[in-house]
């Protein structure tokens, strides 16, 4: 049953990637694959909630909602109807550093998908009425995901203000109700003008298309959108921490305590190798029953109900620029056990830093990680999103296909070094105090 694979990289599935840049600056990545009659269309804009203005927390996400409310040639509700009447599905999501909009469609609706994306890139229909309606919808989204549920927003909303000092990194990306309520249609137009230029976007297309025909159609639909200035990319960097930071939050709805640890990590843009060591480290710590923290804190010491280690805000380790973080979160039943949980985590990190990985441990973790990427790439929509994302954040769509090779270069020493950097002095700790009786 043992199937040790040595350090050789697994071969990623091959996808032909065709690149093209329009005169207005829109970058395009097409990944044709004729095996199933479906196509994914994704537009990513290089703006996320890290870029929203002071006093307008939650605006990037609210604006994402507005992009569905009609556009130059479409009335409200028509965008949804055209996608669904084609037999397709749509969505959008706002991240720290980018915002995406996407459809997955039967391939006979490909041109329609392009039209819908081009139309809102040209000119979304921003009205006071739509704004008020979507402020209400977003408030309900925040209630259902944060305010009305135990552990809502834990830790993604509570960790950043402790780990970071500047508004872009520290503020609540869902937004305060007051800020949302104060948002105006003028704010929305200004935000669109600043950040939604074609030159600030990447269009990803994957699936059942011919590359040449696809580019011709893309030129036809997006080529007429006026070139506008690409906004300069802000540097959000902050100095590393020099001492541990601690905070507590009370969650009136939670029946059990929880704790979140946030560690600063290397800049994925400058030092991808060191960053990827942290990606594998997170897997070594908490992926599956054989991982370090599961074995120690869950199975052996029975200190916690669950524990997980991951990079970034939402669990995708490769979707954020610097500064980003490694998170460790745990739920447990005994409030007085918090210090024990922290020391047990520290002990495991220390053990990795001093003794390194066990024979075979690094190989199986990277095999598993590569397999997870392959599985993701099986979905046409994920391909359109991932190729566009890697093009936007790393300037290289093909990087995702090269990850198995890069992961194969990570050594035991790299893991030890990464673990050695995760010391209390480089982290923020937020303890959640339960307010509900279990």
């Amino acid at each position: 049953m043992s199937a040790s694979r040595g350090a050789a990289a697994l071969r990623a599935p091959s996808f032909e990637l065709v690149h093209h840049t329009l005169r207005n600056g829109l970058r395009v990545v097409v990944a044709p694959d004729r095996s199933a009659p479906v196509v994914g269309v994704a537009v990513l804009y290089d703006v996320g909630f890290r870029s929203e203005p002071l006093g307008r927390t939650g605006f990037a996400h609210l604006f994402e909602h507005l992009m569905f409310q009609g556009s130059a040639n479409l009335e409200k509700l028509e965008h949804f109807r055209y996608v669904q009447a084609s037999g397709g599905m749509f969505n959008g999501s706002t991240h720290l550093d980018y915002t995406n909009y996407f459809e997955v469609l039967p391939s006979n609706a490909f041109e329609r998908g392009l039209f819908l994306e081009a139309d809102r890139m040209r000119s979304p229909r921003i009205t006071e009425e739509n704004l008020d309606n979507q402020i209400s919808v977003v408030k309900e989204e925040i209630r259902v995901n944060v305010l009305n549920r135990p552990y809502g927003g834990f830790p993604w909303l509570v960790l950043p203000p402790v780990l970071f000092d500047t508004f872009p990194n520290a503020h609540n990306g869902y937004g305060g109700f007051e800020d949302l309520q104060n948002a105006t249609a003028e704010d929305a137009s200004a935000f669109f003008d600043s950040y939604y230029a074609p030159a600030n976007a990447v269009l990803g297309v994957a699936g059942d298309v011919d590359a040449d025909q696809a580019i011709e159609l893309i030129e036809q639909h997006f080529g007429g959108i006026r070139r506008r200035k690409k906004p300069p990319r802000q540097n959000f960097g902050e100095p590393m921490l020099s001492a541990e930071r601690r905070e507590t939050v009370t969650d009136a709805l939670a029946p059990m305590p929880a704790v979140a640890l946030g560690y600063r990590v290397p800049n994925p843009g400058d030092d991808l190798h060191s960053y990827l060591a942290n990606v594998l480290l997170a897997e070594i710590l908490s992926d599956g029953d054989a991982s370090r923290l599961q074995r120690s804190l869950v199975q052996s010491k029975r200190l916690v109900t669950d524990i997980s280690a991951y990079l970034g805000t939402f669990g995708d380790p490769l979707e954020e620029r610097d500064p980003t973080r490694l998170n460790i979160t745990a739920h447990y039943s005994d409030q007085s056990a918090t210090e024990k949980v922290l020391s047990a985590v520290d002990a495991e990190l220390d053990r990795l830093a001093t003794s390194g990985t066990e024979p075979g441990e690094l190989d199986r973790v990277r095999t598993k990680f590569a397999a997870t990427i392959f599985r993701e790439l099986d979905q046409v929509l994920n391909r359109s999103l991932e190729f566009a994302k890697f093009e936007m954040l790393f300037g290289r769509a093909s990087l995702i296909l090269g990850l198995p090779t890069l992961l194969a270069e990570i050594t035991d020493d790299d893991i030890r070094l990464a673990a050695a950097r995760l010391v209390p002095a480089s982290r923020a700790v937020v303890e959640l105090i339960p307010g509900a009786s279990a």
Binding site: A36, F115, G288, V298, D306, R375, D378
Partner: protein, 463 residues
């Protein structure tokens, strides 16, 4: 509720700066649809009774495996025992302890998880396609020699109790449990959370006995999808699982009770900033000739974004973020449910609009444009659901488990294409009418009861 204002802001600045309104562009039509590719399955029934169905899908160098075991039982303590069994079945075998089993899986680029509902136990796995024989070897080991070590059972018992406590604090779970008790009172379909006292009393010996009784191949179904040849997949499975034999003990499938009709049930959750609304009723199974029409009626009501209910209470009124209705299919019954979490202060108007839309679709026919929309959506999304290895494996496992197959799915396009407005109106009247449904609302009773009682009969249950 936010005040609304119909003033239109000066379009967008891009257009404003152009100083003129661009001429309207036509929305491109659809090109000719690609021909539906027939999916070929290979199948073998082993001597043990295990049925294996395989589909070759070389899109990525992976393989997906689903093993489905019927698990519906009327036995007392079945939910607590099967829940703990699903949490501990991977914690040790005759050859491996929990840790080495997990290591073996990771080496295959694999993952193996166990899912449980009232109908079935489902082992879902994926691995690099070259590792399929090894993965099936792990399946065989777990199926024939899961050992339920005492210390692992004790640890997982404690975690299960904590997870039940966590689940019961979630408003969505509270609402679904309350709805379940109205839709299938006292039946395994009515709940997914075992009583903590029963979990506490569950022993490793009871799990071993449950495993011996029900983890048997005679009624089981193995689905494999991925980048391997049919012969290799089926031969690997036959070799690996040759030692898994025996028949399931009698499961005493419990009869399904009728809906517990009656007033809207308010489950008090003091201080709740939202009300979790749930409506539910019976529906037709997929094998029924009226099903395609009901599927379309559900979509037109609230089963997709461009539906009446979503456009009304979200896009027009802003009462909620994610209203949605759905049809779900279990072995003994199918059901219709509609869910929305709405702001506390608009609970009554949200119920009013919901009753209005249910009443409208059950008393007046939908339009031809709506029928075209939902039909196209139903047909298109069907091919999306089987466009990945994982999606195809799960869909196929679900279909075969319900006595259907991919041929049913292929022909379902034609059935959807043939549905008429009148058929949609007939099934909507039968299944979506407000008085055919039970309703629950989890929220702050002090703030919502009075207004709700002006619209419908209510009954309040304490927190």
């Amino acid at each position: 509720m936010s005040p609304t204002d119909t003033a239109v802001a000066p379009a967008t600045s891009a257009r404003a700066r152009n100083g003129r309104r661009a001429p309207l562009l036509p929305v491109p039509g659809l090109t000719r649809p690609a021909k539906v590719k027939r999916i070929t399955t290979a199948e073998r029934v082993f001597e043990s009774g295990l049925r294996v169905v395989f589909v070759r899908r070389p899109s990525v160098p992976m393989v997906e495996v689903r093993l489905r075991l019927p698990f519906l039982s009327a036995k007392s303590h079945h939910l607590s025992r099967s829940s703990l069994l699903s949490d501990t079945i991977l914690t040790g075998t005759a050859q491996h302890d929990r840790n080495s089993l997990a290591i073996a899986l990771q080496e295959l680029g694999g993952g193996l998880s166990v899912g449980l509902d009232a109908d079935r136990l489902l082992l879902s796995a994926s691995a690099l396609s070259t590792a399929l024989p090894d993965l099936l070897g792990i399946f065989a080991e777990v199926l024939t020699s899961a050992s339920y070590p005492k210390n692992e059972v004790a640890g997982e018992r404690g975690r299960l109790i904590e997870r039940i406590t966590l689940a019961k604090s979630q408003p969505g779970v509270i609402a679904n449990e309350a709805l379940g008790q109205r839709m299938a009172p006292g039946h395994p379909y009515g709940t997914s959370l075992p009583p903590i006292s029963e979990v506490e009393a569950t022993t490793a010996a009871q799990l071993r006995s449950l495993h011996a009784n029900l983890v048997r191949p005679d009624e089981a179904l193995l689905v494999i999808v991925g980048d391997v040849t049919p012969a290799r997949a089926l031969d690997s499975a036959e070799r690996a699982l040759a030692g898994w034999t025996g028949a399931q003990a009698n499961r005493e499938v419990p009869a399904l009770p009728g809906l517990d009709m009656g007033p809207l049930l308010i489950v008090d959750r003091p201080g709740s900033v939202q009300t979790s609304l749930r409506f539910g009723g019976h529906a037709l199974p997929r094998s029924d000739e009226g099903y395609p029409a009901l599927q379309l009626a559900n979509l037109a009501f609230g089963g997709m974004f461009s539906s009446r209910w979503v456009e009304n209470i979200r896009e027009d009124k802003g009462y909620t973020y994610s209203p949605r209705s759905s049809l779900d299919h279990s072995t003994l019954a199918s059901s219709f449910t509609a869910s929305a979490d709405v702001a506390t202060e608009v609970t009554a108007p949200a119920v009013l609009e919901t009753l209005y839309e249910l009443g409208r679709i059950s008393s007046l026919p939908i339009t031809q444009a709506e029928l075209d929309l939902v039909r196209q959506y139903a047909i298109g999304t069907m091919s999306l659901s089987i466009s990945t290895q994982a999606g195809l494996a799960s869909t196929l496992s679900g279909l075969l488990g319900a006595g259907l197959d991919l041929e049913w799915l292929t022909r379902h396009r034609d059935r959807l294409a043939a549905v008429t407005l009148e058929q949609v109106a007939d099934v909507a009247a039968e299944f979506l009418a407000p008085r055919k449904l039970v309703a629950v609302a989890v929220g702050d009773a002090d703030r919502i009861s009075s207004r709700l009682s002006g619209l419908v009969d209510i009954t309040v249950q304490g927190a």
